[in-house]
Symmetry: C2
Subunit: 321 residues, 2 copies
Amino acid sequence: MRKVLAFDLGGTKFAFGVVNEDGSVLGSGRVETFAEKGPQQACERVAEATRKLLAELRLKPADFVAIGVASPGPLDIARGCVDGSPNLGSAWTGFSITGFLSNSFGGLPARIDNDCNAAALGEYRFGAGKGKKNVVYITVSTGIGGGAVIDGRLMRGANGNAAELGHIPLTMDGPRCGCGNPGCWEVYASGTAIARRTREALAAGRPSSIVKFAGGIDQVTTHHLFQAMAEGDALAKEIWAESINYLGRGLGAVINTFNPDVIVVGGGVTAAGDALFVPMRKSADQYAFPRLSAVCSIVPAGLGGNVGVVGAAACAFEHVS
Amino acid sequence: MRKVLAFDLGGTKFAFGVVNEDGSVLGSGRVETFAEKGPQQACERVAEATRKLLAELRLKPADFVAIGVASPGPLDIARGCVDGSPNLGSAWTGFSITGFLSNSFGGLPARIDNDCNAAALGEYRFGAGKGKKNVVYITVSTGIGGGAVIDGRLMRGANGNAAELGHIPLTMDGPRCGCGNPGCWEVYASGTAIARRTREALAAGRPSSIVKFAGGIDQVTTHHLFQAMAEGDALAKEIWAESINYLGRGLGAVINTFNPDVIVVGGGVTAAGDALFVPMRKSADQYAFPRLSAVCSIVPAGLGGNVGVVGAAACAFEHVS
């Protein structure tokens, strides 16, 4: 079976793995990124760890057909570079990650893709979107990220930065988003945003058992919201209902935009399980055209913690197919 | 050169044409739809007029490779039917327009597409998006409609109803849209919406020369807004600036979603020309990621009044390519 070397670059961890053409992970690992020390060191560190893994697996670069890299955007895909990522720092801009890794591993063809786009292709080929033609991936986590596979092909756009779906507007005058605009979807419905809205309600003096679980207002995360909700806490239920409404409004827009067969939802907030998916489905249906929502399922991600590496692998296989 | 028979079905007119593979229109015409009399009569009427055109052009069904139909959605593409269109009426649901036209013209292969999606493919192949890979078409008219060509292929979605871009949210609690939701893009920024917002401001007693041009508040359209604006009317300028802001917010979302090479904008509101395109471009840039807006041009539609027929033709050629 054909194999690829896959890398998942993040602000804190740089993961790597050996992935078969059926999506199975033969071996994997991760190193610290230490993004602030720049790309050369981080790439050397991950290449060294990867070489060790290959030695353990008794594999050599010639056993692989390609290299795939998933990275936070924005990217300069043609040059294999990060291009102005707030998570990695300016030292990364212009350093060809694909060039470095290709040189490190026998000149294998290498490509870089936005991490959410790679995740979409991974879920389409190997995960919860398998067998469907039109798959949108949404991650609800620190922010909200997206990727779309349209009729079996990853939508990259003009320069590889398509599907910034967290920046669908929900309001014209809401809280300021990291992108500079007011009222983007992710400032209402990301995990960070749900926690922020909870802390704001608590700071305004609303009584709730959430603080008890968190220890203090500043420590509140969505996890404590779920804990309080399980106990029937009124504020927790209210904030969760609002969050579901925001999530549904955005997902409704995604359905109306892409008319997908399936929306695969990943990210930390999906730990809530049915408490998320059941009402979120209902809310999305309310906001989407019936004929479009009728054919669209909304399901949890299938690749779990492997989504980065397996997504990068899917992009690598596509690159040489 | 290969030719197709192209049809553009609308609530009031049913247009038809003979289109060459280079997009040139050899002949065209239109009949009344009389939608309320049902699809059988309308299709017979357009088929008869088309037969006359073919006779004039000394062409017969065997001179064509396919039939294309552009129609308001939602559609059942597989069966060639309209499926619950508010503009056409329930009698149209389930009647195979492609079946009828194929039977009428020598059994030619026929396909139906959403009119905005067909327009997107038409502008991509023959119009203002020619030579680009990723083309989004937006019409700003009675409503706001959209279509997207992704990496050279029309995005149809799971059941042919993709790119309902007029229903991107701008607010969570704005005016109710025809789709049932509050605050969709088209309830703020379509031609109808701009006129409605103007009439509301006038009805609230705001002084303006707009009424003079229209004759009365109830008669106000965007045309009268432009006339008053040309005279320096303060209210007209204010409403136009708000409209530009709404258009830009939506276009910013389109850029962040598709990362297109070009957005082609058609529809009645584009009659405003540079008074629309220059500030709308600036507004869109404010709301989109710089790296994405930098590669995306925003241009007027290239196919003008032919967009329906030529779009349907583009879909027909694609169907048999």
